[in-house]
């Protein structure tokens, strides 16, 4: 893809011990050294999940307590199942949906819409972000309208898209595209704008063409921002698709959710919410995995995230 990946591929998986020692000596990177554990092999390790950590066990304990509270809490507190159904009821409702309402089919549709909406939204946002980033004049002309569109609540477009395209998956994808588009655009635009001018001058002094400056300096320099945009986008895509499914059509988890609501079936609503959350978590995790791969040249502390550190 880029020079970044090229050089990443050429680099050894683990920094050399000498580099490591030097790094520790230079106190500035001490944090990076401390956090560097054994070579990440499994997907779990790459996400920062370490089962030997005390924090991990405490975290899992908290989850168990939460689930137990959900199971027995409503009964103990006398809350009606209509308001908060106990966990086992939600699970059995999920199983019921699986056998009677083609849950897998609906979940698949939602996943597909999220995936397509996310990818298209990212591509559109990134391409326009880079173009505007490279053309200050266009940016000045267009930016007020971009701001206006960014302020507009994107999900409010869902009924409009349904009017235009009918009760199929297109409107749902479009809502996702629209909602994913902006954070990507803004992040890419900002990062291209804030590339150190001295780096551009360095490339210019080597007689780099405009295209080379983009490809060798601006594009790789924008990667960290692009990925923070992708993270936000991955969760927004699920929101966009869900709202799209609420508004019209008869497919997807959003549809099942609204149907459950109509029947007063709180358990089904909870089951749908859980599955939608799972889809969001998977999308987010995939972005993080890609980010760890692409940005592995960065000191760990620069990731600056609390994500997935379970």
């Amino acid at each position: 893809m880029t020079a970044a990946r090229q050089s990443a591929a050429l680099a050894p998986a683990q920094p050399r011990p000498e580099a490591e020692r030097n790094c520790a000596a230079a106190t500035c990177c001490a944090a990076a050294t401390v956090e560097r554990g054994p070579a990440p092999t499994s997907a779990a390790a790459r996400l920062g999940i370490r089962l030997n950590r005390r924090e991990t066990w405490l975290s899992l304990l908290l989850l168990a307590a939460f689930l137990a509270g959900w199971e027995w809490g409503p009964v103990l507190l006398g809350i009606a199942p209509y308001n908060i159904p106990r966990l086992s009821l939600v699970v059995s409702e999920g199983v019921h949906l699986y056998y009677n309402s083609e849950l897998v089919y609906h979940a698949g549709i939602t996943c597909f819409e999220v995936l397509v909406g996310f990818v298209l939204g990212c591509l559109l946002g990134a391409v326009i972000g880079y173009l505007l980033g490279m053309s200050p004049t266009t940016e000045v002309v267009i930016s007020p309208y971009i701001l206006a569109l960014q302020i507009a609540p994107k999900v409010a477009f869902a009924p409009l898209f349904i009017l235009w395209f009918g009760y199929n998956i297109t409107p749902k994808i479009l809502v996702a595209v629209l909602i994913v588009f902006f954070p990507i655009l803004i992040n890419v635009l900002t990062s291209v704008r804030t590339v150190d001018p001295a780096l551009i001058n360095l490339a210019r002094s080597f007689k780099a063409s405009r295209w080379q400056i983009f490809w060798k300096i601006e594009f790789p320099a924008s990667m960290p921002s692009l990925f923070s945009g992708l993270r936000i986008g991955s969760t927004l895509a699920v929101i966009g698709v869900t709202v799209g499914e609420f508004v019209g059509g008869n497919t997807g988890l959003g549809y099942l959710l609204v149907q459950g609501e109509g029947q007063g079936n709180t358990g089904a609503v909870f089951a749908a919410i859980i599955l939608l959350t799972l889809i969001g978590i998977i999308a987010y995790a995939l972005v993080i995995l890609a980010e760890r791969r692409v940005l592995r040249y960065m000191p760990k502390r620069d990731f600056g995230d609390v994500s997935m550190r379970i």
């Binding site: 020079a3 050089s7 780096l199 002094s205 007689k207 060798k216 940005l295 040249y297």
Partner: protein, 266 residues
């Protein structure tokens, strides 16, 4: 004498007068009527007060900026844009964080389309020469400040430029690292016979590394004095530091720059 490697002929640079005449943007004259010439293999330093337009001269020399009046020539040819005879090195190392040290050193040749094998061997040779052999595949953040600046020097030398423009290349380093790097640079310049134009705030550095020192006035910058450094060992800056003449040069430069005047007045 033959044609100078780098020459400034009555160069003036003004900023902020793009819409000439409407008076909305104040015109700043960064440097005015600067003439200087560097012979082949000569090392010349430029010192002056902050904001006197030193870095402007460097941008003009590297072709990143054009003079408002006068001409800049490299090997007798007018500079009309960046060219491969001139390379610069700044206080910031400008290493790309996503590239390994080796890929950073290769950057210039990569942009100019040099074949991968040949640019790689040039890079590795320079990396060894500047004692970075173990770090060829490390990323910049894994290196200390001094090592990063050596990598930047390797990247500059990889272009095999005739003229090096150096803008306070060591000012961000601690005193000892600085002396080590000054020695590396001085040796390289001597061995390769490179011409160098060094901009610095450090009076000792200017005297220790150069054949001549130029002194610039406050803005609008003009060259007000030229001092020939008559000491041996231009490739041994550490030896020069303790040379008996060093103190004389420094006190003369301090006088020219009015360093200490305001303290005495107070």
């Amino acid at each position: 004498m033959s044609i100078p490697r780098l020459e400034f002929r009555q160069v003036t640079k003004r900023f902020g007068n793009r819409s000439a005449g409407d008076g909305r943007e104040p015109v700043i004259t960064a440097v005015t009527d600067v003439s200087l010439a560097l012979a082949e293999g000569e090392v010349v330093s430029l010192i002056g007060p902050s904001g006197c337009g030193k870095s402007t001269l460097l941008n003009l020399g590297s072709g990143l900026d054009m003079p408002s009046a006068g001409t800049v020539l490299v090997d007798g040819e007018e500079v009309d844009g960046p060219n491969s005879h001139v390379a610069f090195m700044l206080q910031k190392d400008l290493l790309l964080p996503w590239r390994t040290i080796r890929d950073n050193v290769e950057l210039g040749q990569e942009i100019q389309g040099v074949a991968k094998d040949s640019r790689r061997s040039v890079a590795l040779e320079l990396i060894d020469k500047y004692h970075l052999g173990e770090f060829a595949n490390a990323y910049p953040h894994q290196l200390s400040g001094g090592m990063r600046q050596r990598a930047a020097l390797a990247r500059t030398m990889a272009m095999d430029p005739d003229v090096l423009l150096l803008d306070e290349p060591f000012s961000a380093l601690d005193a000892q690292t600085k002396m080590v790097l000054q020695t590396d640079l001085a040796r390289t310049l001597k061995d390769e016979g490179k011409t160098a134009f060094l901009i610095t705030h450090d009076l000792v550095e200017a005297v220790a590394l150069s054949d001549r020192v130029l002194v610039m006035s406050a803005r609008p910058g003009r060259i007000i004095e030229e001092i020939a450094v008559e000491m041996p060992d231009r490739d041994k800056p550490i030896a020069r530091r303790s040379h008996m003449k060093m103190a004389d040069y420094i006190s003369r430069l301090m006088g020219l720059l009015h360093i200490g005047d305001d303290i005495e007045a107070a």
